[in-house]
Symmetry: none
């Protein structure tokens, strides 16, 4: 029955996430994962051909969750004028990072590359390209020589600030979030639209 399968797979992914967060990648042995999931190791290997595949599936699931939460808002942002658009993007980035931030951290910081490395760079390249397109649309408002470079600067900055703030508990109240969004927006918008006299 398919229901039974799904329950098992979910339990395995959930257990993997939990152990990864609590004990780090090194302690996450397949036997421990299976045990915590309440199934046998055999079942783990029935659904995932290797430990690597299991972790990859978890990454995919996490990315999917993030994307789902973000996709709609991202579309909105693109339609807004620059200053509001950037604020929206920053807000979305914060939201994205607040979905299971500890898991996000382990997944980005501790998983050994293999095929992953390529993926992460691709992911970033996509972000750069997306943002570059957005900038293109507002080219006349912007004062930067190299749009590609500007996209790199903005994306990297937003990502770093939201990531670091969320993970290192810089954010512990709605006010703190608000402040972070304000500052980040001002930083990026000030860079894109120098308001010099």
């Amino acid at each position: 029955m398919q229901e039974r399968s799904r329950v098992t797979v979910d339990a395995l992914l959930e257990a993997t996430a939990r152990i990864l967060v609590k004990e780090g990648f090194d302690q996450a042995s397949t036997n421990r994962i299976a045990e915590l999931a309440g199934v046998s190791v055999g079942s783990l290997y029935q659904y995932f051909p290797s430990k690597e595949a299991l972790v990859a599936a978890l990454i995919d699931r996490h990315n999917e969750e993030v994307m789902q939460a973000v996709r709609g808002e991202l579309a909105d942002a693109v339609a807004l004028p620059l200053a509001q658009g950037v604020r929206k993007l920053v807000t979305v980035a914060v939201e994205a990072h607040r979905i299971d931030p500890k898991l996000h951290r382990v997944l980005t910081e501790q998983i050994p590359p293999l095929g992953r490395l390529e993926n992460r760079e691709n992911f970033n390249r996509q972000n750069y390209a997306l943002f570059a397109t957005y900038l293109e649309r507002h080219r006349d408002e912007i004062r930067v020589a190299d749009l590609g470079l500007a996209a790199f600067v903005c994306v990297t900055t937003i990502e770093a600030l939201t990531h670091t703030a969320v993970l290192h508990q810089k954010i512990d109240s709605d006010d703190a979030i608000e402040a972070l969004i304000n500052e980040t927006t001002r930083l990026v918008v000030g860079y894109l639209i120098p308001q010099s006299s």
Copy 2:
């Protein structure tokens, strides 16, 4: 003889760095490290109580190297007016990241935390504090409400941009470096000193 000790320790650290960079943390077994260093595993354990301690020593050595290269320039920067000071800081950050960037990457991305995590956060906190002090000195030129938050924003931004640029080969020529420094400086200075009329 102390000389012999130092040679052995250096060889071990060097071997560790080389294997870490070439093959990643997973392949870096103590036996392989000792072999590449030209000593026996026994000797490795004569000088380092555990693998973790060995890696920690390597991190320390790398940090020391970076600090040594940077300390003087950092002192200079503090004495400069804001715009030039920030440019100096960014330049120094780029330089720092160009010291064995591959090792830097492995050390920051692949080493499992353990006691390390604390250290890294401490390291960052130090940077924040340092920069906050610097901002304090230029408080009257600056238009930010929360100096601590501003320090966090600036340090995180500079760190992220230089780190990412170096590691992802955004930097492959002197012109590219120049451009990155320009943009980063403009980003940060524009944030600290909004030139709005």
Copy 3:
């Protein structure tokens, strides 16, 4: 319904044979066998109490096929005079080995003994006894001291030559078969009836 049973059993045996030949004993897991047979593992265990029993059944089926092809001709052989009888036996042996030789090879070379070993020896003993009886009938033409020993020599020799020739591609044309039969016959007959002056 008994029909359905037979179809399932046949499919299982066929699948076992195919996997055994294509991938060797080690790769022949019961799950793979069931899948190739188009039934569930559960069904496999409905008809065979264990993997061993399944393989045993396959061996029996193969032996049965060989016997069926051979029984008639064997009876003929016994009625013939010695020289022609031996030639007939050799011919029959070649034929027997040409029934799915790859399966024969796997079955004789790769299957771990267990209860099988006994069987194989029994099988051989039967052959010895049969041939000894045949020799008995032609005792006066034969110049050997120990009929039992002679039977062992002849049976082993014929078996080895036909087996090896078929498996190691010594036989790839009708001429080659003819030649092999000639030589083997001459070898055995020359041994049984020394034509010394």
Copy 4:
């Protein structure tokens, strides 16, 4: 120290041989082998990169033992006239098979191929070639059309008879050995030199 290593390696090979003989290839797990050898699994893998390599080394050792026992006598045989030469060869073959016959059996019957298969065929091809050369030297005494085919027939026959006799306890006394050698020699010589008028 090299002495310590050799002792360990020998113990491992010896344990492998014993388990292989007593319990068959399937029961011969590396942990059981190490245990019986009185060393840890780790030591096993210090000297042999895989279970396969361990078994390969055992095969090599066995072959070496056999070869050492046989090499000298083989050289003698080549110098003898045909009838005596063949007898010598058969005697040597029996001797060879009496060196740890049970191990020989497991090694030839139960070890899954992999790289081995090729080796075994090569080994046989060498024997054929060697014997063909020997026959060449006595060409004028021999009455066979195809020397290569004759070599195949003789080598296969001698090998099969001695192998089977030794393994299936056809040989349990010096008289039995004598008888087997006599019969085999007569079989082969009769084939090579038909003494028909």
